[in-house]
Amino acid sequence: MLSVLSYGRIVARAVLGGLSQTDGRDYKLVTASCGFGKDFRKGILKKGMCYGDDACFIARHRSADVLGVADGVGGWRDYGVDPSQFSETLMRTCERLVKEGRFTPSSPVGILTSAYYELLQNKVPLLGSSTACIVVLDRRSHQIHACNLGDSGFLVVRGGEVIHRSDEQQHYFNTPFQLSIAPPGAEGSVLSDSPEMADKSSFDVQLGDIILTATDGLFDNMPDYMILQELKKLKNTNYDSVQQTARSIAEQAHELAYDPNYMSPFAQFACDNGLNVRGGKPDDITVLLSIVAEYTD
């Protein structure tokens, strides 16, 4: 009985969708993740969605699909703090907020702000800092709402071209904006940006649009044309092919990162800043590849 009803609803929705050319269908994101930790052993030992000091999450709620990446700032290792703890806890908290519906799709900054607040509410005295990028697809309105703090980011690709990209936020070279919890007494001397500082953007998407969300480990090692080349191989919207593409992008970036002779975007940027650097940038790499598809129950 129930299945008849639900099929009926799908049919009705399809008919209605066909009748009115304005798209009444709901969208969803088919998202796959792949990544590599800088330190191989660590990446393997970590459970869940964590690659080195990077962390990410993919969550869904009734009204929206949400995903995010965070890059734990490695400098904390010198203070005896595991940088991945901060980024991972931040992403896990975001995931929980989404799953419990404590967010509005139009405000990804809200997710970031509440997640940061929850970190301070933890009994465990967390220390560390992290960049963060959160992308929300509002299923009904077909809009992407995104926020980006720091040098992670996302690309939106339609018909083989980048139609939208997030802005990078850096205080100075290789020092991105970051959320942080500083050790007591050092609050003034540690870079700490409020979630409100995040770069916000909203735009419409269509079926088949590809959204690539990644940490700087990808963008520093792979220029746009190479990414687009890989994305061309993505033909359909099923999870396996998305997963495959995500993997091949991550693998390629990982190889380039350890190529000493390759002139990576990072090296290029360093040269522009007056530093003589060659080769890839060995870093943790996290890739979340999503494609906009029609929502089906």
Binding site: R96, E118, N122, L127, E187
Partner: protein, 604 residues
């Protein structure tokens, strides 16, 4: 279906645990015993709690999702892991550490079977006849004292006037040796109505640390299976039967009772619980006179009868409470049982002599009630409004008229800054003040400065989770309130950011120097408590009994040892999540100082 399977497997695990003897309490029946009888007739439905409707206290801050009661709703997120996790529902206190021996004497006549200290009400999607209740306790289990079901459907459009609560299970609080997670699935009584509203009452007093609840599963059938004989233990004990049946035989002799001195019968009667007193009053004219004697109602605790108290019971009690001094109506009167007007007329009749009034979680209260209290109860010294979170902010303005107040509890209320400032200005005799989790107060520094100027005899102050108290405020507080014995600054987030310079916070040291009579000090999650602070506390606070420094990275084992040596009266020391203090240090110190209960929580 999947969740059903999941829960079945949980139950199976639990059953195996029962068999292996890790749980030896007879009260824990495995759900599987009750299972086969009903499954034959109709499929059972398993539901996780949909929503948390009401509770008396919680550890987390309002608007957060860490350690708050709202986490009891939904599917489990921690189980079967054990540990101290943010995802769970945690009550505000545990053990006997927060009991206030000098501020709050317990009420006489409290029945021995009433153990509840805190409660939690959860609603489920669909009404069922419950066959099993499973509570997933993920940390320090054993607190649940009572589980009740209500006939009221919170999601229904039309509300019935007759609301019934029935006890599904009741037990003694237990001390479970292990903090490990368990499924608590007691054998429950069957009730004659379908329910989707459950109430868990807890008593954590025997536990070693905070109990944490992950999820609650209500299993039941949609339709009434068989004619269930309802073994109702709770008689509807409304003390409301005025007996004029006996009034005809006025001249009957009372036998030996006539020879007993009046005071002696009074003494005997004074040992009865309130419902028994009311029943005895119906037996004969003589005993009615004794049971209606206002001296029997100098103190009256109606909290144990929260489920049956209504306007009518108040009307009947009114005539007996001529000299009522202490009244406890906490938890009573919700869902329309007691109305604001009923309460007001009771207070108008009996409130003049009141000294102590406990009204925690009384959601019938409104501004008029507070106005009536302020006008009538001129000699009121203690007022408890904890967790009256639906009481409108302007209602609190009336409290300022109660100039003789000595104890005021406003935990989890919506009091605003102007109201608390006027209270502090006029109620200068305050000894005990609880302003924990009062989210509407914007600037605690201002509140505290008025406090230190006006209420200099303050003995205990609870500022749990006050967000805006800064170091300047703390300095001002200790300059005025020098006789403070208890100070709770737990989770005061502004105290540990900003002005602190290298080497810790001077204000804590200053506070320690000034507050030499300090017995209880809670510095929970003040991340910059350091060795130097502890040294000052050790030197200047010899009377210290409780200290909580959870979640600081800066305290070393050596400083802890010095503190333990110089505070001989120390009984509770919480060093959970202090990254320099490992389990071995805690064990060593525990053997060296056996009188001190040293707490070290874990997340794994």
């Amino acid at each position: 279906m999947l969740t059903l399977l999941g829960v079945c497997s949980f139950v199976f695990v639990h059953w195996r645990r029962c068999r292996s003897g890790s749980l030896n309490d007879a009260a824990f029946h495995c759900g599987s015993t009750a299972l086969p009888i009903v499954t034959k007739m109709e499929a059972e439905l398993d539901q996780y709690a949909k929503e948390v409707l009401d509770f008396s206290s919680h550890y987390g801050s309002e608007g957060s999702m860490s350690y708050t009661m709202w986490n009891a709703a939904g599917a489990p997120s921690v189980f079967p892991s054990s540990g101290d996790f943010t995802h769970t529902a945690v009550f505000r206190t545990y053990g006997h550490w927060w009991e206030d021996e000098h501020a709050k004497q317990s009420f006489s006549r409290t029945p021995r079977s009433f153990h509840s200290r805190d409660f939690l009400e959860v609603a489920f999607e669909e009404q069922v006849f419950p066959t099993a209740i499973t509570v997933l306790e993920t940390y320090h289990p054993g607190a649940i004292a009572q589980i009740l079901a209500c006939s009221f459907n919170p999601y229904a459009e039309n509300h019935p006037t007759d609301i019934r609560w029935e006890v599904l299970w009741a037990g003694e609080p237990t001390k479970v040796a292990s903090p490990q997670a368990r499924l608590f699935c007691p054998a429950i009584r069957q009730v004659s109505f379908a329910t989707n509203l459950l109430r868990l009452e807890v008593n954590s007093s025997l536990l070693d640390y905070y109990t944490e609840l992950d999820a609650i599963v209500l299993r039941g059938v949609r339709n009434h299976v068989s004619s269930i004989t309802t073994p109702l233990i709770i008689a509807n004990t409304t003390p409301n039967k005025d007996s004029d049946v006996l009034s005809k035989d006025v001249n009957m002799s009372n036998g030996y009772f006539d020879k007993l001195p009046y005071e002696l019968i009074q003494l005997i009667v004074s040992h009865l619980a309130v419902p028994d007193l009311c029943r005895l009053a119906q037996s004969c004219k003589l005993l009615q006179r004794h049971c209606y004697d206002p001296l029997q109602y100098i103190q009256l605790s109606l909290q144990p009868y929260w489920f049956s108290l209504n306007d009518l019971s108040l009307v009947h009690l009114q005539s007996r409470c001529a000299v009522l001094q202490r009244l406890n109506m906490s938890w009573t009167g919700n869902r329309g049982a007691v109305t604001a007007s009923g309460f007001c007329s009771f207070i108008k009749a009996c409130g003049a002599t009141l000294v102590c009034l406990e009204l925690s979680c009384c959601h019938f209260l409104n501004e008029v009630c507070l106005e009536v209290i302020a006008q009538t109860c001129v000699s009121l010294q203690e007022l408890d409004l904890a967790s009256c979170d639906r009481l409108e902010p302007q209602a609190f303005n009336h409290i300022a008229k109660l100039a003789r107040l000595r104890r005021l509890v406003l935990y989890r209320t919506k009091i605003e800054q102007t109201a608390i400032l006027s209270i502090l200005t006029f109620c200068t005799e305050l000894r005990h003040l609880n302003l924990g989790s009062c989210v509407m107060i914007e600037d605690y520094d201002v509140v505290v400065s008025v406090l230190s100027a006006r209420c200099r005899s303050l003995v205990s102050l609870d500022l749990w989770r006050c967000r805006s108290l800064s170091e300047r405020g703390l300095a001002e507080l200790v300059s005025g309130c020098g006789v403070l014995e208890e100070l709770d600054l737990g989770w005061s987030s502004a105290l540990h950011s900003g002005s602190a310079l290298h080497g810790g916070s001077a204000s804590f040291r200053h506070a320690a120097r000034r507050l030499s009579r300090l017995r209880r000090l809670y510095l929970t999650a003040n991340r910059n408590i350091c060795d130097a602070d502890l040294e000052h506390i050790a030197t200047h606070c010899p009377a210290l009994e409780h200290l909580d420094i959870l979640g600081t990275r800066l305290v070393s084992p050596a400083a802890l040892r010095r503190l333990l040596q110089s505070c001989p009266r120390l009984r509770l020391l919480d060093v959970s999540f202090c990254s320099q203090i490992d389990m071995r240090t805690v064990q060593e110190l525990s053997t060296l100082f056996p009188n001190v209960s040293i707490k070290k929580s874990f997340t794994q």
